[in-house]
Symmetry: C2
Subunit: 211 residues, 2 copies
DNA sequence: TCTTACAAGGGGAAATAACCCCTTTTTGTA
DNA sequence: TACAAAAAGGGGTTATTTCCCCTTGTAAGA
């Protein structure tokens, strides 16, 4: 009986290489490949590598992050089982990975025993949702007032998180200052904030910009 | 000839456990212990465990972080060799670890080969400074125009990172709005920024406020 | 004792941000 | 195709921020 095949996608070489030893130490599991970021992995898949049973996907990566990669996987290989791996447990990120098809979300401070369990469950049952994830799922069901930001709004927010004036932002986006005024007012209402400072804080908290 | 002993201090169990496999795979090295945070490690040291040849110390930990731990080690066991391990390479943090006595600073995306090299160099020569660290050291020597923020200024910055107006901030600090005006202008000059947005970005980048 | 430095406070003006209410154009879709 | 919704643009006003230059008291150094 052949072993369950795992591919690791993580930019922290020290971690991915080490993790591959850990996975290798489990009976029934073997690492079939290690990639440094989503782009490398996708290139390899396009190049025709054999898909593994489970992909372990880091969320925070510089080149092509977990969320982008997850989207691509969902579109092109919707049945691929993926477990997200991350150090951060903020609701936004977790939910985005799950809604894009991740079958599990593990924090990097997970006990190796739980980790093995998660691998086994995802392989056999198809998913593994920790208490944290379940909590977020329930939360989402209850108050489903999700805030949707449009592309253009996100562009505006990013520029608002600089020392540019709104006039300069308008120039940068090739829009009239008055249109920018509209964007701002919309966002203030939608995000329940009152000032540009609030917008900056929101943007950073929700990782729309990174500093 | 006995092996070189390593202790790992890192809150990410998945990482520390995995890393211990990696270290174990190197000839001449063995892991003598794994601790979840600085507090656990220090407690163990106080309890009389044998100090290892090298401590691998994570910088970002929830309970007692790398910097605090490093300070304690410097005070109590100044000859202990420590290599800092971190995902972040911002100058502030790197320099604080180095000035507190870390013999090396490695990023978690380091190649395992470099990692092994670093272990060997720290053991034999006593230190291992990557290009990044050397760069920061030189930088520190050249422009030693460190920015010092006064207590009251920090208080002001924290309030500036909210949706309060300056008038409200003045009330909050029991000062005249005009004094606040002075604080702001001082900071704008000192930090080479032009707007309150710039101040907020500075504050977050330098961890004066956390969001 | 005589600076020097700095915290605190201030006047007044110009630029920018925030607010409210409105029109035109584009777009999606029933 | 026609209707509704969303995007873009606008007028006019007020509040806030930013800027420059100034005074006073106080405490530490030379």
């Amino acid at each position: 009986m052949s072993k369950i095949k795992i591919i690791i996608v993580d930019d922290h070489l020290l971690f991915s290489q080490s993790l591959s030893y850990l996975v290798g130490s489990f009976e029934n599991f073997e690492v079939a490949g290690i990639y440094n970021n989503g782009k490398e992995f996708i290139t390899a898949v396009k190049g025709g590598i054999k898909l593994p049973d489970i992909v372990l996907l880091d969320v925070n990566m510089p080149i092509m992050d977990g969320i982008e990669t997850m989207k691509w996987i969902k579109q092109n290989h919707p049945d691929q089982k993926v477990i997200a791996l991350s150090v951060n447990n903020d609701e936004d990120t977790v939910m985005r990975m799950i809604t894009n098809g991740a079958k599990g979300y593990l924090l990097k401070d997970t006990d190796p025993k739980n980790f093995k369990e998660a691998l086994e469950e995802v392989y056999s049952r198809g998913f593994y949702y920790s208490e944290m994830v379940s909590g977020y799922l329930i939360n989402k069901l209850n108050n489903d007032n999700k805030i949707v930001l449009k592309e253009r709004e996100i562009e505006f927010i990013k520029l608002a998180c600089t020392e540019k004036t709104y006039k300069e932002i308008a120039d940068g986006m090739c829009l009239s200052p008055k249109t920018i005024d509209g964007y701002r007012e919309n966002l203030f209402q939608k995000l329940e904030i009152k000032t540009r400072i609030g917008l900056v804080l929101y943007a950073i908290k929700h990782k729309i910009v990174c500093i």
